[in-house]
């Protein structure tokens, strides 16, 4: 498996105090840096706009006058701008994507805070790198031309099959084009519609593709895979274009992908975008999430999983309200877990909670993750639901890490606010993750 983005060394940095007079310096740096790192004018301007909102917000609400590190990173197929700063517990709440500093003034919320910064970019993510040290990152993908040819080729596939671990750029483009041609209206990744982007994603090193090529050199299938978390590899595919050899090609591609990751730090493979029938017996169904769309009924998003090694077992922390679900799912999946119930014994909680928000505009989706505990969990969840729905997001997910005991009190809060548990992803966090999904009506 390739190391994470091998272009990540293409990084430019600036440190400056979070004070209003330096706003132009910060935004000018962001725009000129991402341009120098290869982003187009339009994308650079959008990152500049996001940077303007974020820097202004930091100067007014989060850490006025404190130092902020800004980095512009070349991801090859995207540009990323990172803001790193330290926060004190007192102002942590202001980092929620829905926060403005004036929580009582709802009218102003939609036009303030980090929500507005997210509007011009593809992804916004807040993570805590060490205690009190925050990284707020925004990403904007480059614009690529769509696949030029959508007419299915008529030449039949030939005998012979070669598995190519590192296909060249033209093979990758053929692969992406074939996937795009067969892609139904699904929440699957749209990047296959842009073969040039797939080439850059592989060249960047954080995605890998294995291709199956027939005797005449035509791409008969492929599989894309990448680290989704520290220990989980996501597979997209295997895609097979020669229906007469579906079983053979799908199995060969999956075997090759497994061989590539079997001796890495990965503990499991997950498929979130559909798994072809011939290889399903090698996976375990985790469950299904709904994919809500502007029009038409929601689509099902089934997820599949397989361990690469022995399940080492682990303790998991939860609230009693989720125990039945966990017992049922762990029994169904034959996972060895020591379920430990967290109880509220009247201990005092202080300060504002903070949730990290990963915004995926392409899917009209936001994934919320608890970053910091506080005494306002219910109010914070409600605020996020309200503002993200007002912002037009159709898919709200909330991930609880069962390896982190303080997250357990969020369970009854979520269950009481139209979130329901959709699936467990083993070892996707410090322990297993439970993915909750928000339903407009009672699930």
């Amino acid at each position: 498996m390739n190391p994470p983005n091998r272009h990540s060394n293409d990084t430019l940095g600036l440190q400056l105090p979070a004070r209003p007079p330096f706003l132009d310096v910060a935004t000018g740096f962001v725009e000129s840096s991402v341009r120098a790192l290869g982003m187009g004018r339009e994308e650079a301007l959008k990152l500049r706009l996001a940077a303007e909102e974020i820097f202004s917000y930091l100067t007014s609400h989060v850490r006025p006058a404190e130092p902020v590190d800004i980095r512009a990173v070349n991801g090859l197929y995207y540009g990323r701008v990172e803001f790193r700063f330290s926060v004190a517990a007192l102002n942590m709440g202001a980092l929620n994507i829905t926060a403005t500093g004036q929580f009582e003034s709802d009218e102003a919320l939609a036009e303030m805070g980090l929500v507005i910064a997210s509007r011009t970019v593809d992804r916004l993510r807040i993570t805590e790198e060490s205690r009190g040290r925050i990284c707020l990152a925004v990403e904007k993908e480059k614009t690529y031309p769509p696949s030029p040819d959508r007419t299915p080729p008529r030449a039949p596939f030939r005998d012979g099959l070669t598995i190519q671990r590192t296909p060249d750029a033209e093979t990758l483009k053929q692969y992406a084009g074939e996937v795009a041609r067969g892609r139904a209206d699904s929440p699957g990744p749209a990047f296959f519609d842009y073969p040039g982007k797939v080439v850059d994603m592989v060249a960047a090193g954080d995605n890998e593709v294995i291709a199956a090529v027939d005797g005449a050199g035509r791409v008969a299938g492929g599989i894309l895979f990448r680290f989704l978390t520290e220990r989980i590899v996501e597979i997209v595919g295997p895609h097979v274009f020669d229906p007469s050899r579906e079983q053979e090609i799908a199995e060969a591609l999956l075997d090759a992908a497994i061989a590539a990751v079997a001796r890495t730090r990965a503990i499991g493979l997950v498929s979130l975008t559909g798994l072809p029938e011939p290889v399903r017996s090698q996976f375990e169904p985790l469950g299904s999430l709904a994919f809500f769309r502007d029009e038409g009924p929601a689509l099902a998003r089934p997820a599949w999983y397989r361990f690469l090694h022995e399940d080492p077992g682990c303790p998991v922390w939860t609230n009693g309200a989720l125990k039945e679900f966990l017992e049922r799912e762990y029994g169904r999946l034959f996972l060895a877990r020591d379920i430990r119930e967290v109880q509220d014994l009247g201990e005092t909680l202080k300060g504002s909670s903070i949730f990290s928000a990963e915004i995926r505009r392409e899917w009209s989706e936001v994934v919320l993750r608890p970053l910091w505990p506080g005494d306002d969990l219910a109010a914070n969840v409600e605020r996020h639901i309200r503002f993200l729905r007002e912002e037009g997001f159709l898919n709200l997910l909330f991930e609880i890490d069962l390896g982190v005991s303080w997250q357990a009190p969020l369970v009854p809060v979520l269950l009481g606010r139209r979130f329901s548990p959709g699936m467990i992803i083993p070892f996707a966090g410090q322990a297993d993750l439970v993915v909750f999904q928000y339903h407009e009506t009672r699930p």
Partner: protein, 368 residues
């Protein structure tokens, strides 16, 4: 202030995922809710050590725990040398064969070099190379065997060591004497060729080579042996390598002396001196269990790969890692083979018949 681990730790170490050994039986039994646990995952010998070695373990005087062992396993090396007809300085004893793998890679490789081995073989050669910053070139097996031609093709000027596992774990396939010597002739002394013979004592095939006897003609050949498998002292951790005097002298420079404890050294001596037929008894048990399991698996329609060694591999209709968890609930522990790049296969130790029957019954139950 916290250390800056990104700066201090080399990338090859930082990015390496440590191997997590299985938990102790009591913890596993608690986790999986099983009353007993039959371990068929590590190719251990259920007969235990030969009687002489058992006596050494039983009679070890506790006060000797305070005294350092022989730092270079002096007596054991002399006895091994006599056993193989070589000089004691041609032998290095390590804390299990795993330790001598590390010695060899440290002695011959530096960043920029590479090793060549197979993709579906014992993982530790590859692991040690990778976390030492050495490229591991893994060549696909051909029909379940080490592919001599393809391995020769992967050798270049930066290749320092070639690791062969003979017989191979997990396929049980082996190179005959002719194949091995032809390969050594083709390498021509330009690289060190390591032949790991961890399962040497289990092999009954007549054309199977004794690697140590070949070191006279091939001074670039280094052979590994262990006391963990046939001799049943895996818990004491002791193995050794043998090779040409000058080559071993180089390897010795990277050795950590005193890494092999006194009980292990003395028990290994007793293993070598065994005259009670331990090897024969173990071979009989393995043969009987192999025949039984092949028939049982055949009856269930499950393909079996069975060669030399006290193990075989079974192809399942679905995920091996799921089968592992289901079998654990039944109190049977096998080795899922995805980590060996054999997805949907499990490796089963050929132990006593009772354990084999328990395994077959559990497998039938979980596949029903």
């Amino acid at each position: 202030m916290k250390p800056d681990l990104d700066r201090l730790v080399p990338a090859c170490v930082r990015e390496f995922e440590p191997y997590i050994p299985s938990k102790p039986d009591r913890e596993l039994q608690k986790l999986y809710g099983c009353r007993r646990l039959i371990r068929l995952n590590n190719n251990e010998n259920p007969l235990g050590p030969p009687p002489g070695a058992q006596e050494v373990i039983r009679r070890f005087p506790p006060p000797r725990g305070a005294v350092y062992p022989s730092g270079d396993s002096y007596d054991l090396r002399r006895e091994l040398a006599a056993f193989h007809g070589i000089d004691p300085d041609q032998v290095i004893v390590g804390n299990g064969a795993n330790e001598v793998i590390t010695f060899v890679i440290k002695a011959f490789c530096e960043p920029g070099d590479n090793i060549v081995t197979a993709d579906r073989t014992f993982a530790v050669y590859e692991w040690v190379a990778v976390f030492s910053g050495i490229e591991a070139r893994v060549v696909p097996l051909k029909e379940g065997r080490f592919d001599d031609g393809a391995m020769l093709e992967r050798i270049d000027g930066a290749t320092k060591v070639i690791f062969l596992c003979n017989p191979n774990n997990p396929t049980g396939t082996y190179w005959s004497r002719d194949t091995l010597t032809a390969f050594l002739d083709a390498v021509g002394g330009r690289q060190i060729v390591v032949v790991d013979e961890a399962y040497f004592e289990f092999v009954e095939a007549e054309d199977y080579p004794d690697g140590i006897s070949l070191t006279r003609d091939y001074p670039n050949l280094v052979v590994f042996r262990t006391f963990s498998k046939m001799y049943g002292i895996a818990g004491l951790r002791i193995g050794y390598l043998a090779g040409d005097l000058k080559v071993v002298d180089m390897i010795r420079r990277t050795c950590v002396v005193y890494s092999v404890n006194t009980i292990a050294q003395e028990a290994a001596l007793a293993c070598l001196r065994d005259d009670t037929g331990h090897v024969g008894r173990t071979r009989d048990m393995v043969r009987q269990s192999r025949d039984y399991l092949k028939e049982e698996m055949g009856g269930m329609g499950l393909p079996v790969t069975s060669g030399e060694g006290n193990f075989l591999i079974v192809k399942l209709p679905g995920s091996d890692t799921l089968a592992y968890r289901k079998l654990m609930h039944e109190g049977v522990m096998i080795r899922p083979m995805t980590g060996f790049r054999y997805p949907n296969h499990i490796r089963v130790t050929l132990a006593g018949l009772e354990a084999m029957e328990a395994f077959a019954a559990a497998l039938k139950k979980i596949l029903a």
